[in-house]
Symmetry: C2
Subunit: 259 residues, 2 copies
């Protein structure tokens, strides 16, 4: 039974992309078949998976404007269990092409229905905004993983994110579909100072059991891996952040099996 | 002679807001009159200046949709030299209201002309995107400050940012106006690891003299200040990041005077 998860938070630099690629690779090591969708104009997830910009014909944005079909845009990777639907860095012009499409919030949802059963998990890396692209991701999803950086400003935007999730839940209800907050992931915890732990406590108080047990520590290997176009779980498998993401994958599988 | 500067970079979490508020406060300590415009739906700059969400009538977005006038939306602060044009967290609906306005890229520019001479510096905090809102900021600006976090992924998006700047430069040329890259600011340098310095070297090789001498170090006081709704230059004036931002203000004034 496939599970589609958006990795979403409009706050910038909270670890959405890092979580998307490392959760994808950790799930694939556990034998799960994963589709990683890069839905960000910055195409960071695509770059971090070692995929070069000129090396493919169609991007996910060509699918949203219905100029390409999802199956033809999907790329296989060196890992047998991970496929990637890549993004391309484009001038953000696609909203204008799509804004008059009355069904525009469901475009990705419709296209994904045809192929989701080929995967155990579909992970969607969202951009730092709550606009049309992120709405498409959420409408296409069963659940949302919210990465929250252990910094005060990262908590500040949670209300707005939750409001957006509620709006999408009502859109999906019309189709008898649900959207849950699958989990909240605390990221980039700097264990050397107190303020990070303050954020951990506040987030756990607010979200209770939704918060994953795993907390990803701030860890220099994690950003070093990006220089080499591989997830940190491959670049530095014994580092603290790699171990964190592997534990997260097990938590995700447990939550999915228990749901 | 007033100077309007956008603090822009579509990569998330690179220190745009932190730079906007700390440069604003540091310039004000040097006797400069500053208008800080928060152009981000997340309203982080507004929050970090201690301004509460319910406490004002009109936001900058009401000005963009022409439902309010800029002078009535501007708030004075406890600091005599800093005014703030606040943002409000809203569902991102304003593009749809404005998309049919054929002059939509010049809305902020036109409104700012009327009041910019009241200030020495106007600083615009941009969201992590290159959409309509950031284009409005750039069109309204004389120059751009690009914060670049000392991480590989932060360099990845610079090409796209520079392409957007070129597009805006041609829009402004039609009005006989220019837009320069006023400066590139390296932020959040973690002096304990090598990878940050690698980014410093690459950015200096690429941007040469555009790079500010000042580099802002990663410094826990900087994010602690956000818990209290004040810039770090006020919260912890002797911290390394405060000293960095004060030096940056002097560099900005020197570059402006020499231009
Ligand atoms: N655990 C970690 N330790 C150290 N650095 C990290 C960690 N996780 C992510 N980073 C680095 O922090 C930066 C921001 O992370 P990332 O790009 O994943 O965030 P994001 O939420 O996807 O950003 P955006 O909003 O721009 O899409 C990147 O340079 C990344 O390599
Ligand atoms: N020099 C620094 N040292 C430590 N933390 C910092 C520093 N500068 C900024 N931060 C913290 O890093 C996080 C990201 O910074 P900030 O919000 O200023 O980036 P941004 O580019 O405005 O993000 P966004 O793309 O979401 O608008 C914040 O939690 C901030 O408090
Ligand atoms: Mg990202
Ligand atoms: Mg910001």
């Amino acid at each position: 039974m496939s599970l589609v998860l958006s990795i979403a938070n409009q706050k910038g630099g909270v670890g959405k992309t890092t979580t998307a690629i490392n959760l994808a690779s950790s799930l694939s090591y556990l034998g799960k078949k994963v589709l990683l969708i890069d839905l960000d104009y910055q195409a960071n997830a695509t770059t971090c998976m070692g995929i070069h910009r000129g090396s493919f014909k169609a991007s996910v944005f060509d699918c949203l404007t219905e100029e390409a079909a999802l199956p033809e845009a999907i790329l296989h990777t060196d890992s047998p269990n991970i496929d990637v639907l890549p993004a391309r860095t484009v001038v953000e012009g696609i909203e204008e092409k799509i804004i008059l499409n009355t069904n525009r919030d469901f475009i990705l949802h419709t296209q994904l229905q045809a192929i989701r059963q080929n995967y155990d998990y579909v992970l969607i890396d969202c951009p730092p905004s709550l606009g049309f692209v992120t709405i498409n991701a959420m409408v296409a999803s069963d659940g949302i993983i919210i990465p929250v950086q252990c910094e005060f400003l990262a908590m500040d935007g949670l209300t707005q994110l939750l409001n957006t999730i509620r709006v999408v839940q009502s859109k999906k209800k019309v189709n008898m579909e649900t959207l849950t907050i699958f989990g909240v992931l605390l990221t980039m915890l700097d264990t050397r100072s107190n303020s990070g732990f303050q954020v951990v406590n506040e987030v756990k108080t607010y979200f209770g059991e939704k918060v994953f047990q795993t907390i990803i520590p701030r860890n220099v290997s994690c950003s070093n891996a990006t220089f080499y176009g591989v997830p940190v779980t491959e670049f530095s498998p014994k580092s603290k952040s790699s171990l964190g993401y592997r534990l997260l994958a097990k938590e995700v599988i447990t939550r999915h099996d228990e749901a």
